[in-house]
Symmetry: C2
Subunit: 101 residues, 2 copies
Amino acid sequence: MRVRTPSELGALIRDYRMRHNLDQKSLAASVGVSRQWIVEIEKGKAGAPLGLVLRTLGAIGIVLDAQQETPPSPKGKNESHGVDAYVDINTIVAGARKKKK
Amino acid sequence: MRVRTPSELGALIRDYRMRHNLDQKSLAASVGVSRQWIVEIEKGKAGAPLGLVLRTLGAIGIVLDAQQETPPSPKGKNESHGVDAYVDINTIVAGARKKKK
DNA sequence: TTACAATGTCGTCGAACGCTGACATTTTAG
DNA sequence: CTAAAATGTCAGCGTTCGACGACATTGTAA
């Protein structure tokens, strides 16, 4: 499953927790957080610390895999905003000299 | 690439940012955070808010995929073939009646 | 060399966080 | 049904975060 937002991740955690027949209290204990925090995370809390989130995922047997995103519709020219996934000619020229190693 | 710790994710972000020839300032602007925050994230800050982390990944074209972790090869007997690779008999018995819907 | 851009680090401060504890609601066991 | 467990929510409090500004360090271009 793809994870793009805190809400998606929260739903994922809840789903896996229930699959393992764990209650919030037990999961909280094994992760090392309070039960309320588990409640928040499952609701999709955006402010949850990355470290705790990863530990929670580990506690229920989920691993995350990072991949290059599929082409964001290469229609227009060089979109100035929102960081292209693809390198355009300008950035190549701009950074052409600073090839360090 | 697998992401298990904040440090791994930080290295991933840094790698992708450089691959796109972006400086910290530009990335920070497109994500909507301070440049210092980018520095911290790339160092593997564990306390970074999940929401900002996901937005950063999106800004450089990385998607996360969640998967069931492969168990450390439980040389047990009847290997379950279903979704859950390892649910022990106790948890099954304990939760056998709580079939909700 | 000098000059500039990118990066790393350090204070300060207001805002947000997580925890404890309690209580209300929902669900399950008997 | 009632009792207990699990879950959702709230208030208070100490801790930690991110933004901001400034400065040091590094690397590249002229």
